[in-house]
């Protein structure tokens, strides 16, 4: 059995970690939190130069042509430093949609730009509060033009193009949902930044008023393409979450060793030790589940649906658990703007909602396990 990353993949991890420790210290995240730039443009450029934006994009389209295990490694490292860049939107979603459903012309047009970081892509899905289902997709597509509103769209303010889920046939069912590529700088598109719980990752409301749109994949196939891409993105996002969970745990551990109260390090009190032990447990379970997801993703296994939901649920729980108890370990200082704890708390809660919330993924997981139980 070899349920572990290879030496080459570990080398890639070290490379990514060194790069990100240098280019994305907490001060860089804070710069985006407090500054006017919606994301860290220098870091984005650097990620493109390193090839990290095109890990799985074939070499003929300007990518590295590596596999998903390598992308998982990079995702985890980005999660550790809560990188303030549109990586998830552009790499886990837009790139995956084009790889999954794009025509040769669409691939040739977008993949090289995505790999280089010259174009940022995103996915416009939700149209307001509540779980997204085929019924909530109201945005209309007709005659190659889109009309309606998507909110929130991650990185919608900075993306060059969006994959948009739109209704192409009346009714509520999934056969009426199709996908389109829309260039967001064109006419008929209005974008407004919306304030979010994590200002280091910007979001927008995008209004489409007859915006020109090009079909992505066959009409009526949108929902099934979305499901397939979401499974892949779920594994990758789960690695990002596990990276964050590990870092939050380390921050809490370091502080528990350093902070003295009642004449001893607070890490010597069982109440604190046990909280940290439970954080370790959730992060460890999530990591192992992520490995399962990575295995399924990289081997094209029929278990991907189950593995992706497992990794996603587990990693969401772990990052939320670790980030909130990191604040708890820091006490009052954890609630200050000056300490970095809130950056992880914000990110953990943002990532828990991007790509469908925990309850949505719990549902998907149980549906898939149930199908297997019946079989």
């Amino acid at each position: 059995m070899n349920f572990e990353f290879s030496d080459e993949q570990k080398q890639l991890r070290n490379e990514a970690r060194r790069f990100l420790e240098a280019k994305c210290p907490p001060a860089a995240v804070r710069q985006v939190l407090e500054g006017s730039e919606p994301f860290d443009r220098a870091l984005w450029k650097g990620l493109g130069e390193m090839g990290f934006l095109g890990v799985v994009i074939p070499e003929e389209h300007g990518g590295l042509g590596l596999g998903y295990l390598e992308l998982c490694v990079v995702a985890e490292e980005l999660g550790r430093v809560i990188a303030p860049v549109p990586f998830g939107s552009s790499v886990f979603l837009a790139t995956e949609f084009i790889l999954a459903a794009g025509s040769e012309a669409q691939k040739a047009k977008w993949l090289p730009k995505l790999a280089a970081g010259e174009a940022i892509g995103t996915f416009a899905f939700a149209e307001g509060a509540g779980a997204v289902t085929p019924r909530t997709i109201k945005l209309q597509a007709s005659g190659g033009a889109l009309t309606g509103v998507k909110i929130p769209v991650a990185d919608g303010d900075v993306a060059d193009f969006a994959i948009v889920a739109a209704r192409t046939a009346p009714g509520n069912d999934e056969r009426g949902v199709s996908l389109f590529i829309v260039e967001l700088n064109g006419p008929g598109v209005t974008r407004e930044v919306v304030e979010t719980i994590d200002p280091t990752r910007s979001h927008a409301r995008i209004s489409f008023a007859g915006a020109a749109a090009e079909p992505l994949g066959a009409a009526g196939e949108g929902w099934s393409i979305i499901n397939g891409v979401f499974d892949r993105a779920a594994v990758l996002t789960a690695f990002e979450q596990v990276g964050g969970a590990d870092r939050a745990l380390e921050m809490a551990r370091d502080y528990a060793l350093e902070r003295v109260a009642f004449g001893r390090p607070i890490g010597s009190f069982q109440a604190v030790k046990h909280m940290l032990a439970d954080m370790y447990v959730s992060a460890t379970l999530a990591r192992s589940n992520c490995y399962y997801g990575a295995w399924a993703l990289s081997t094209g296994s029929s278990e991907l649906g189950e593995a992706a939901a497992t990794a996603r649920v587990s990693a969401t729980q772990a990052f939320q658990h670790c980030s909130k108890n990191n604040i708890q370990t820091h006490g009052g200082m954890g609630f200050t703007w000056a300490f970095d704890c809130h950056l992880y708390y914000r990110r953990s809660n943002l990532l828990a909602l991007n790509l469908g919330s925990l309850s949505v993924w719990e549902d998907r997981l149980i549906e898939r396990l149930r199908a297997k139980n019946v079989a």
């Binding site: 059995m1 070899n2 349920f3 572990e4 990353f5 290879s6 295990l69 745990l249 551990r253 528990a256 060793l257 001893r264 390090p265 890490g267 010597s268 069982q270 604190v272 030790k273 046990h274 940290l276 032990a277 439970d278 370790y280 447990v281 460890t284 379970l285 999530a286 990591r287 192992s288 589940n289 490995y291 399962y292 990575a294 295995w295 990289s298 081997t299 497992t310 649920v313 587990s314 729980q317 309850s359 993924w361 719990e362 549902d363 997981l365 149980i366 396990l369 149930r370 139980n373 019946v374």
Partner: protein, 418 residues
Amino acid sequence: MNFDDTPEEAAFRQEVRTWIQANAPHHLKEALSNAGFGSGPTGIDTMAEAKAWQKKKAEAGWACLHWPKEYGGRGATPIERVIWGQEEGVYSTLGGSFIIGHGMCGPTVMAFASEEQKRRYLPPLAAGEEVWCQLFSEPAGGSDLAGLRTKAEPAKDGSGDWIINGQKIWTSGAHYSDFGILITRTDPTVPKHKGLTMFFLDMRSPGVEIRPIKQVNGQSGFNEVYFTDVRIPDSQRLGAVGGGWQVSLTTLMNERLSIGAGMSTGFPELLDLCCRIETANGLAVDDPAVRSKLATWAVRQSGLKYTGFRAISALSRGEIPGPENSIGKLVAGATMQDIAALALDLQAESGVINDPEISAANARFQAMLLRSPATRVEGGTDEILRNIIAERVLGLPADIRVDKDVPFNQIPTSGARA
């Protein structure tokens, strides 16, 4: 990343599979498969069948296969041991009574007994001919094992023998054991960890009295063992006089090295129940409140399984597994208890019925409910396991121990007044 065997592992697995196919007690398969969660197989003489299977394995070289050949093992690698466990499957549950002897007593004897003793005692232990137990916990020394009070004093007749007086508790299988390893206090005037000494003894020695403990679930797997002037020859001392704590660490370390399939949580059984039982909102599996809980437990079960796979992968590469495996019992015990509670809740009024003939799922969840409290206590409580993770994995400071440097006979006890 893959789950595949190396060519050597695949060849070994094939050899194991062929032998098990030809030799396993297939007639017990159904009874063994239906047992679990504290209820043993019904309708069979488990100890007799276990001994027969163990003997058969030993004769073919498949008993304690990671032990050296001269002591009844096979000299197998850790990964071969894991493969054996996977292939032995449900038949491995027959060997429950041997786990402590093979997993803890054997390695301790191997590390500290004389060559002659090792050749005398280890092969019959491996073959299941002689069963061993571990006499560690005491009424005053559970999590605080080093607080134990069973006394060993030199015999006054000058023979060099030791005379044992005191009481042990929670001794699994003492009632069917032939031998035991016993930790005692030989010097109460030094701090508690320093005055301990380890022995092994014949459980039929005069002065040994075994009383089964009736448990919450009505069964009696554990015992109290009383020692009244029990005589042990000095040749059965394991390690130095006063060196018992170090010896016990060897024993306990071996307990934590057992790696494999990941501990059972009861999740697959619960999912199956939820696909069949109705709530007010239709099938339980369709109820959102139930789903959310199921999902949480599903990812715990899966996380344990794949954490085990990571450890196996380390073994396969010839490495020592990391500390992540220490989470197993902590997660499984609490999860099983929660799962049992929901399963009974779904059965509603009928959840009270604890009768395999009538209850849903053969009263499996009722058995889980009544057994799971023990899982969270035995072999290290949840609280001790969290301390271990915090201290050994995360590197947090050890607890401040007020009794650490105090002579044992000056430490306040529950019975004493301040």
